[in-house]
């Protein structure tokens, strides 16, 4: 599949609600059972404001908007992020991740593009240098 994109173009946006139940489900599916992601008492004992999302949950959830736009998960060639801020997940309630995927670089010869993700929770960017290299 081939498509034309322009630098600066927003190719996908998504709003993701995250609950404690989502974190428990991710813990099971991923095998990351660190109690800071589901146990309030443990999280506060180690100095966190409360239960926080797995960085890898946020990373995994944020990229799906790009996969959907691409139409083939196999077209994600490279994906890297820095975990800059924790995502506290309240109970009751939920955290909301606002994802924006913007074209940063297009390499027409290679048939690839770098898509940069902005992921914001409560007005704060929670991922840094979130870059997805995709095959167009």
């Amino acid at each position: 599949m081939s498509r034309t994109v322009d630098v600066g173009q927003v190719v996908a946006t998504r709003s993701i609600e995250v609950t404690r139940a989502d974190l428990v489900r991710y813990a099971g599916a991923s095998g990351d059972r660190n109690p800071i992601h589901w146990n309030e008492r443990f999280a506060t004992e180690v100095g966190l404001p409360g239960v926080i999302a797995h960085g890898m949950f946020t990373m995994g959830a944020a990229v799906d908007a790009v996969t959907e736009w691409l139409g083939d998960p196999g077209a994600v060639l490279d994906y890297g992020v820095r975990f800059t801020r924790p995502v506290p997940v309240p109970d009751p309630g939920h955290a909301t991740l606002e994802v924006t995927a913007t074209v940063a670089v297009v390499d027409t010869e290679a048939g690839t593009a770098r898509i940069d993700l902005t992921v914001v929770c409560d007005g704060v960017k929670v991922l840094g240098r979130a870059q997805v290299l995709v095959r167009l």
Partner: protein
């Protein structure tokens, strides 16, 4: 954290069998609804051999390999003092159900700065033929002991 671990390479892991239901379950857990993660026919239509892993699924395989370092008493990593700093996946080809994947863990760097040890690991994941499938680079920030 023992800085002399930098440069260390571990022996290849036992093969990890990638299961179709696990790929579906992992994809669902991160809200990945693309049919190629779930439906074999949809994956085949895109030219894949079976359902395709979500882009971050390789962390499941990588963290098993990384456990060799994290659970090594000699390395001196207290897991309750670890924060995940960054993660990167390079897919040499998509991971699909039915893959049997072997991982070699490399400790690329241990950098001490202001009471933190930044530990960068690299997992080279290959299939049963020895062909490269994915490279997973992860950096952990390990806080030192309280003084």
């Amino acid at each position: 954290m023992d800085a002399s671990y930098a440069g260390r390479t571990y022996p290849p892991t036992a093969a990890y069998a990638v299961g179709r239901e696990h790929l579906r379950e992992f994809a669902s857990s991160v809200g990945a609804t693309h049919p190629a993660h779930h439906d074999v026919a949809a994956a085949l239509a895109l030219g894949h051999r079976d359902v395709v892993a979500a882009p971050t699924f390789a962390v499941v395989i990588a963290q098993r390999a990384e456990a060799q370092l994290l659970e090594d008493p000699g390395a001196g990593i207290d897991f309750s003092r670890v924060v995940h700093a960054d993660e990167r996946f390079t897919h040499h080809r998509p991971i699909v159900a039915g893959d049997e994947l072997v991982t070699v863990l490399h400790v690329d760097a241990v950098v001490e700065r202001s009471g933190l040890a930044m530990v960068t690991t690299r997992c080279e994941i290959a299939d049963a033929n020895g062909s490269a499938v994915a490279t997973v680079v992860s950096t952990l920030a390990v806080r030192g002991e309280d003084r």
